[in-house]
């Protein structure tokens, strides 16, 4: 199947509705994601971000509305959608009993690639997991597990990648590692749909941001456009205090495990 057949936007969602029993989670969601770049779907817990992602990745059927991914309809052309996407869910979906490398080989085999071993080794290198590659994924730290998870999502170069709250539950360093991985992904031309409840994450990563609230998209635009929704900034003189993040990295510095591991492998 030609995963690049479709022209037009990478994702087009129109009038999407979904209820769980009496709870109306999505009440008519509309948005489009252009090809390439990072689109952030922002919302509080329970806003329905995951529901949107599950519908787009053919895991859940919508009650009403249409959604197309890479030109394929999620309801009628599910196979085409699955050829085009990759999903990284909220909980790092890695096989804990297999080693990191075996996890990658498994996905490469399921994507029917020619040289699964080479694909796995390349990704281990790219995500600084070469040394840990032969260890069981159960022994990985949260950040390593996420990196492995994202690496698994890249196998077969799907044009659209869904990252559902990729940094939830991670420590600040692991978060930055994941951010770097996401940025690299987008630089390679992949369309990334990212859901997050962290405003700074959306601000840092996304080209466009949509806010899902009350079952609808209430705003959608670039960060600059979103900023214009508020009255123009007033100039105030404020003493610049270092953020807690600045302090954390200044104190922890290069002694921290994650960075050391990365540095060693380079």
């Amino acid at each position: 199947m030609d995963t690049h057949q479709a022209e037009g936007p990478a994702i087009r969602v129109q009038g999407l509705e979904k209820s769980y029993k009496d709870l109306r989670v999505l009440r008519g969601v509309d948005f489009e994601v252009a090809r390439g770049g990072i689109f952030a779907l922002l919302g509080s817990n329970g806003a329905g971000k995951t529901t949107v992602v599950r519908i787009l990745s053919t895991l859940l059927k919508a009650d009403a509305g249409t959604a197309r991914v890479n030109g394929f309809d999620v309801a009628g052309q599910a196979a085409g959608v699955r050829e085009s996407i990759s999903l990284t869910g909220q909980f790092a979906a890695v096989d804990e009993i297999l080693s990191g490398r075996e996890n990658l080989v498994l996905v490469a085999r399921l994507r029917h690639l020619k040289a699964p071993g080479t694909v796995a080794d390349d990704l281990l290198r790219r995500f600084s997991l070469t040394e840990a590659g032969s260890r069981r994924a159960a022994t990985y730290s949260g950040g390593m597990r996420r990196r492995l998870d994202i690496a698994m999502s890249l196998i077969g170069n799907p044009p659209v990648v869904f990252l559902d709250e990729p940094t939830s539950g991670l420590d600040p360093e692991a978060r930055i590692e994941v951010w770097q991985a996401v940025e690299e992904l987008a630089e390679g031309g992949t369309t990334v749909l990212l859901t997050t409840q962290y405003l700074d994450e959306a601000e840092r990563l996304a080209d466009r941001i949509a806010i899902l609230h009350g079952g609808r998209i209430i705003v959608n635009g670039t960060l600059a456009e979103l900023r214009r929704l508020l009255p123009p900034a007033e100039v105030e003189y404020v003493e610049k205090q270092p953020s807690l993040e600045d302090v954390f990295f200044a104190v922890v510095g290069a002694d921290s495990q994650g960075r050391e591991a990365r540095a060693n492998e380079k």
Binding site: S57, L60, A79, R82, V94, E96, I97, L106, R111
Partner: protein, 253 residues
């Protein structure tokens, strides 16, 4: 997608088989209960049970084999439930693969894991004096019935594996299955049981299956029991498969 079904199922089965070979304790806990029961029945209770000319270990082995399978399949539910919890099930479902291969991989792995457990239990029975002069054809028939029974129970196990809310819920369903052989001809001839119990024992699946396997292993002519046994296995298999497929549909829609 159909073209990938065999290949994808093979890859996924390889994955779950690794789960079995890397946690051999699951095989151990599967066989330890049947082996303990075998020791208890043969060396403690067995002397007081009259099984005619058949030695007691020969008499009760078929029932022990069913118990082995019943305790083995709870790991299938466990492994399936763990896949759902961990999110890897959803990862597979969102990939361009033959989706039902995910379930079949668990079913095939269940067959393999139970086969290993059964071989271990038969091995211990041999040490305890179990002997059979049955020929290759009879052993193949026994293996066939055990495979069919494992398949039937495995599809039952798939249902809680897909629908359970907790890990305990996913594996607790197997307890009644483990106890079913006790109210059958597996350990005591049903003739000694009081009326209603005997009526239940004579007409539940374990009795016909146990009788068939026992007849095959003790080189006696197999009566109509084999047809009853096969009918039970196929009926359970079909019903469980239908319900498991429904649970699966609900899970992926």
């Amino acid at each position: 997608m159909a073209t990938h079904f065999l290949g994808d199922t093979a890859v996924l089965t390889g994955r779950t088989l690794r789960h079995v070979t890397r946690s051999l304790d699951t095989i151990l806990t599967t066989v330890i209960t049947p082996i303990a029961m075998m020791l208890l029945f043969v060396y403690v209770f067995g002397g007081a049970i009259d099984t005619g000319p058949v030695s007691y270990v020969n008499y009760m082995l078929p029932g022990i084999l069913l118990i082995t399978i019943a305790s083995g399949i709870s790991y299938t539910a466990f492994r399936l439930f763990a896949d759902l919890q961990g999110g890897i099930f959803e990862r597979f479902q969102s990939m361009p693969i033959a989706r039902s291969g995910v379930l079949w991989a668990h079913v095939l792995t269940s067959l393999a894991a139970n086969a290993i457990s059964l071989v271990v239990v038969v091995g211990v029975a041999l040490l305890m004096g179990f002997r059979s002069g049955a020929g290759v054809a009879s052993w193949l028939a026994v293996a066939g019935i055990l495979v069919l029974f494992t398949l039937a129970l495995t599809w039952i196990a798939v249902i809680p594996g897909l629908t359970a809310k907790t890990m305990d819920g996913a594996s607790a369903f197997s307890y009644p299955l483990i106890f079913l052989p006790f109210i059958s001809s597996a350990f005591v001839p049903t003739g000694t049981m009081p009326g209603p119990v005997r009526a239940f024992a004579d007409h539940q699946p374990a009795t016909s299956i146990v009788n068939t396997i026992r007849d095959l292993l003790t080189e006696r002519p197999v009566g109509s029991d084999i047809w009853t046994a096969l009918a039970w296995c196929v009926a359970i298999l079909v019903v469980a498969y239908v319900f498991a497929t429904m649970a699966y549909r609900r899970r992926i829609s």
